[in-house]
Every structure is written in structure tokens, then in C-alpha cells.
């Protein structure tokens, strides 16, 4: 069957219940930062072989935004947290 994701609110759910938004970008550059830095932040995305942090929306369940640490090679998800925890600072 499909890959399974352990939503911190709903438990184990199939990939089909989620909408994937993509890479968790690095923190925003300062407003006056160099244009190249902004270009990188807005447009350039890594495509790593291995661990990757992504935004996933549990659109077919609790409708919360999650941050998922996924291994692109094995599809193993090692860590799934509610995206609101990023605001708390410890994971940003």
C-alpha cells in the first residue's frame, strides 16, 4: 500500500491524506540582504539524497501543517511535528 505518515494529532495515515508543500526553507534573509541571498531563498531548492525537511498539510485529516523529516532514499520519516512548534524557535 501507500507510504504511511505518523501525524502527531491523528496517528498513522496514508500519504493520500496529505498535501505536500515542499522544502522547509531556511529562515528569511534580512530585508536589506543581498539580492543573490534572496534569489536563493525564494527560488533555489535543494534536492538531497537522504534527509530532507518538508512541509506537509494533513488536508484529509486534522488540516494542520506539519514538518516532516523524510529520507528521500528510503522514504522513512524520522520525525513529524506540528509546524506551529517552529514558531517556538527550537526548530527554526
Amino acid at each position: 500500500m501507500s507510504s504511511l505518515v505518523k501525524c502527531p494529532h491523528c496517528g498513522l495515515r496514508p500519504r493520500e491524506e496529505f498535501t505536500i508543500r515542499g522544502e522547509v526553507a531556511t529562515p528569511r534573509p534580512d530585508a536589506g540582504a543581498d539580492e543573490a541571498l534572496w534569489f536563493d531563498h525564494v527560488y533555489l531548492r535543494d534536492n538531497p539524497r537522504g534527509e530532507h525537511r518538508e512541509y506537509w498539510h494533513h488536508s484529509g485529516g486534522c488540516r494542520r501543517w506539519l514538518v516532516l523529516t523524510r529520507n528521500t532514499l528510503t522514504h522513512e520519516t524520522s520525525d513529524v511535528v506540528d509546524a506551529s512548534t517552529l514558531k517556538l524557535g527550537e526548530r527554526a
Partner: protein
Amino acid sequence: MRDYPLENRGAFPPHVAAGAGASISLAPVKGGFVIHLLGDAKSDEAALKKALAKIAPELGADVRKSAPNQWFWVGDADVSSDRLTEIQAGLPSQFALADQTHGRVRMRLSGPSSRTVLAKGTMVDLSADLFAIGQSAMTQIGHIGAMITRIEDDSFELIVLRSFAGSLWDELNHMAAEFR
């Protein structure tokens, strides 16, 4: 809700009762209310239920968790918008109510085969020992978002957006065909 000038019409096609001895039955739940309850980050479900039971004892406090700090409050009575305003006024300000009675409908799938039928559409494990009576899960049945609540041993209530109700109804009937 009876006090807006719209025709209150069921979302389902004419209901055909299951034959005697069928191990599955699907039936619409007519009337009643579905109210979306939203709380702030410090919401406590037990305190919410207590508050509802005190403010509106006639409605029961059947709240079904759909997400962190969000619930569907469900019951079989009719609730006027005046009554709803009263209830909102009586609730702690950390909670907000949004009437969804017009937009979400309920149906009941019952019988020994109900789990097998639902398993064709959702991967939430509804086994009796894992999914207790009264427990709810917001999930998808096929591609249709639905909330599943176990209401009796072999009986489940589904809450679905009204515009998807007919489609889910047809799909469940197909899924249940082998048990009729």
C-alpha cells in the same frame, strides 16, 4: 435550524431500507445539528463539555474532536439561531461556535460488516479494541473527506460535507453491495 427561509430538504436520494437479515445498513440521520467548535490553544475538552452541559443541557454534549482545539458538536434536536446566540454568550470567550447544520450531514452505517465496508475506503483501524465507542477520526473515505465516529458496537456515524453526501452515499452502497 428551522428559522431561515430555506427549504429544509434531505441531502440523500430516497432511502431504501436494508432487507431483513442483511449484515449492513446505511441510513441518513435526519434533522439535528452540527456545530463547529473552535477553541484557542489552551482549550480543554473536559472543561468544554462541562460548560456545554451546563449552558445547554437539552442538547447533550456530544463533541467529536476533529483537530487540535476543534470539535464538531452534534445532536438530534433543532437549534434556533437565537438559542445558538445564547449558547455562544454563555461560553468562555476562548471558544467560538459556527453552525454547520446546513453544510454537513450525517449518515449511519451499521451491521456486522460495517468495518469491512469502511476498510475499503479508509485506512484508520476501526477494530473494536482500538477504536472505542464514542471515538472519532477525521479521515477520507476514498477521496471524500469524512469524520467517522463509532456510536455502538458495530455502528458508525459519518459526517460529510453536504455537497459530497450523495456521492459518498452511492459509494458506500457499492462498497456494501456484497453484504446485502
